[in-house]
């Protein structure tokens, strides 16, 4: 068993990959995603109406709602694209710019959500993220 801890880059890629699978209906991702965060992780959204999330249990409940929230055909092919990750002078902090997009269903517009996440990582888990996003998916 490996003893190396996940880096910020690895955690970010695990996060968006898990979200992609979860939106596609893979509910086994809920526990996997929640496990990326520390027990008392804090997630704050700027620009979205969502309330802040505190702790892994709130995150698990948040992720559990995702498959229903994104069940509409316009979310087909949901994924993160144009990912640029910046390392900061603080070894715990990375900043990820990216877009959540989807292929859509040909009728309703696909998702195109621009995001900038400021993520603090400690001991291979996400301790805090400040997520700057547009309001509507």
């Amino acid at each position: 068993m490996s003893t190396t801890t996940a880096t910020g880059h690895e955690l970010f890629h695990s996060l968006v990959d898990g979200v992609r699978r979860l939106v596609a209906g893979d509910r086994s991702q809920v526990d996997r995603l929640a496990a990326l965060y520390t027990e008392h992780a804090h997630v704050v959204y700027f620009g979205a109406p969502d309330e802040p999330l505190r702790g892994r249990e709130e995150l698990r409940a948040h992720f559990a709602k995702v498959p229903d929230r994104f069940a509409a055909p316009r979310y087909r092919g949901f994924r993160a694209e144009n990912i640029q990750i910046h390392d900061t002078a603080d070894p715990e902090v990375i900043v990820a710019e990216f877009a959540y997009v989807s292929d859509g269903d040909g009728a309703d517009p696909p998702a195109n959500l621009r995001c900038c996440f400021v993520i603090r990582v400690r001991n291979g888990q996400i301790l805090e993220t400040r997520d700057y996003v547009i309001g509507a998916l």
Partner: protein, 132 residues
């Protein structure tokens, strides 16, 4: 010595505060913080075209001044946290604009990903959540 990226960011927010306070010199002064050919985009406002020249920046700041005139009396950048990155010319600034209006105080969270070369902003992606 040219301005550092950190100094450039702080000068930007100080001058924006003066702009909002009605200082008519600021659109030109603010535009002077940017390179002649620059790229300023607003990812959270996909309908807004990027600004590509110093002249376009000056027009932008002039428009901001007329837009806020009579609405916002005082604007402050608060909770400023500038992250240096492993690229020496790239900084990421998180901050909150707090605006005093006739209807009370409103706040807008921002994160600017900004590249500054020789004291001039050559690229900036301004993630500005709407005032609420």
């Amino acid at each position: 010595m040219p301005r550092t990226p950190q100094e450039t960011f702080h000068e930007l927010t100080e001058r924006v505060a003066k702009l909002v306070a009605g200082d008519v010199d600021q659109p030109r002064e603010l535009a002077g913080l940017y390179a002649e050919n620059t790229h300023v985009s607003f990812p959270l406002a996909p309908d807004v075209e990027p600004l590509l020249t110093r002249e376009a920046l000056q027009e932008h700041f002039t428009a901001v001044a007329s837009h806020v005139a009579g609405n916002i009396t005082i604007l402050r950048a608060e909770q400023v946290h500038v992250h240096a990155t492993t690229e020496s010319d790239l900084i990421i600034a998180e901050f909150l604009y707090t605006a005093e209006t006739s209807g009370g105080t409103i706040t807008a969270p921002n994160v600017f990903v900004m590249r500054v070369v020789d004291g001039e902003i050559v690229e900036s992606r301004d993630y500005s959540a709407s005032l609420s």
